[in-house]
Amino acid sequence: MTAEWRLAFRNLLRNKRRNVATGTAIALGFAALLAIGGYINRVEKYLRVYTIFGARTGHIIVYKKDGFENFYVKPKEYSLTPSDQQAIREVLQELPGIELHGGILQGQGLVGNGCRTFPFLAMGIDPLLDKQLRDHPMVSRWTQKFKDLQKGRGISEYGAEMGAVSIAEGLAHILHKNKVFDDFPAGHKPQLIADCTASDLFELTNGDANIQLAAGTWDGMMSALDGEIVSTFNTGVTETNSSAIVTSLQHLQKLYETENVSTYSIWLNDSASLKNTVAKLTAGLKKKNLNMDIYTWLVEDMSPYYSGTMSFLRTMVGFVTFILATVVVLSIFNAATMTVIERAQEIGMMRSLGYTKHQIRQMFIREITALSVLSLLAGAVVAAAGIEFINRLEISFSPPGVAGSIQLLLSPNIATVSVATVLIPLLAIGTTVVAIRSMVNKPITILLMGSNR
């Protein structure tokens, strides 16, 4: 250790009580920032994985040109035809880093239990793709709720001819469909409900897993299909948990009497390659003279829930971080001011010995840096212990808009630590300001300031 740093560390021992108080403020501030950052990281990861995998949005979404704005008005005109889908597949075969891809059909209509009907928002997806998304490692890690069905098995477990449907648990509840296909013996037939005012209606609707899906076809006709509830799930989002339906792409296409899909979604091995892949995909589609719109999941329209929630949380956390950082920096500013005032005579002596203003500023900055680094290390230890403790408690909480609850896992990442370490330059700047102010006077004035105290 150099003599300069030795002096810095020794000087920290001069006013132990104050330095311990200041160090504690820094350590706890840092630990709090790490914990808050860990919370944000946890929620962000949850929402990110939910959006990309849970909502089957994908990293990249391909629409027919202007399809996003017009699909629900003119689905036939603004959907992707089988030849469009084939062309996209051909382009994707040439691109590296594509993990999964497939067409998605979205639609709305009414779902009934034999007596009452409710609106639904349906998604048709290839059952195998659905299973791959549900079993994805990112899902296992961050949104276990999506991976684990509430009841039953996924639609990929059943034959295409059966019309397997997985419905949101909120919708199952209002439909009085609390049992799934596997809860009934093989060959069990749907029960016809003759009297929808019967006192035992609840038992009657629960007497089978059959539902009826009704919707207008893209040609303007009415269409209806039977479906079997094979599972229930939690969408993770309050607003969709009482209306969402997932079924096979084939089944939903049959309902709307089409072979088209609304969008074509693409999942990447590494989200870092998103920009590059979009560029290559755009070029590939252009080469085939296909007029399509390409969006990434980060576009607000593609992930309004993620964007809105994170924007809200970041604003909140930014505010809290600002307050925390201000408190910590003011503590240091106060401590540095007190130190400089107390040691005015010493500063004057050092100036007399030939120390320049710059060298004395550096001396104080070294001291504060030493205090800050020691405190930040202590804060990191406190944060690590606290986070481990909180994580082991398995506390559940509900982030804004999330249906049900998720475990409170604080997961700080490198970015969190980086943000938290912004305290170091702030502290150095605070100390420098104090040191500069103290150095404005001539050495004799500083000496006299010290001796006159």
Binding site: R6, R14, Q345, L353, G354, Q359, I444
Partner: protein
């Protein structure tokens, strides 16, 4: 008794018509009123005067830690009034040593480390040479057995000896001591002055110190009397 015999002909300090006025509230105090003075190399000089006579101001001007309103100060033939703040710092570090009334030792540093302070900022001094100089200075002030002691483990006289060692460690041409015995008892004061005289002789360093202690007058080779900011004799 002192080293005046070895003094070279070129003065180490030359002051010409120094004027310094302080403003205290609404009152202007003329601390120096046209002081001119020359100190030769190797001299052991006392600046004597009553409290408020301007002797500390005079030493501060020579030490480049304060600035005159007018007049010139030449240290080792350098006009310090034209130097920048950093240049003055370097001049102080290389050519001057300071001894203060209240010792001004850093309490968390031991004796050795306190003496080391002025050498740390001189890149021309190697670590080996630094150690040699520190050891030599500490030995010269007779505190070799206390090198690891902190200031609060030393007596007042010992602390002032540490301050003297610190002033000498950089091998300065000039040592300025502002009332170095004011905080010491009579016996210790005499010992400190004896030590300074001894070092003046041994190291050929010019000593200039201020005092109002009449009992020390007969021990110095040159006395400069100052009264109301004017050198009287």
């Amino acid at each position: 008794m002192t080293n005046t015999d070895s003094a070279s002909s070129k003065p180490i300090v030359e002051l010409q018509n120094l004027i310094k006025t302080y403003t205290l509230g609404l009152t202007k105090v003329q601390a120096l009123r046209g002081v001119s003075l020359s100190i030769n190399r190797g001299e052991f000089t006392a600046v004597v005067g009553a409290s408020g006579s301007g002797k500390s101001t005079l030493l501060n001007m020579i030490g480049c830690i304060d600035e005159p309103d007018s007049g010139t100060i030449r240290i080792d033939d350098i006009d310090v009034t034209t130097l920048t703040d950093n240049e003055k710092s370097r001049l102080r570090n290389k050519k001057m040593g300071f001894i203060f009334q209240s010792f001004n030792l850093i309490p968390v540093l031991n004796l050795y480390e306190n003496v080391e302070l002025p050498l740390l900022i001189n890149p021309a001094i190697s670590p080996e040479e630094r150690k040699t100089r520190i050891d030599s200075a500490i030995e010269d002030v007779g505190l070799k057995q206390f090198v690891h002691h902190l200031p609060d483990q030393l007596s007042g006289g010992q602390r002032q000896r540490v301050a003297i060692a610190r002033a000498l460690a950089a091998n300065p041409d000039l040592v300025l001591a502002d009332e170095p015995t004011a905080n010491l008892d009579s016996a210790t004061s005499h010992k400190i002055i004896d030590l300074m005289i001894e070092l003046n002789s041994k190291r050929h360093v010019t000593f200039l110190f201020s005092t109002h202690d009449e009992k020390l007058m007969d021990r110095v080779s040159r006395i400069v009397h100052i009264q109301d900011g004017v050198i009287t004799k």
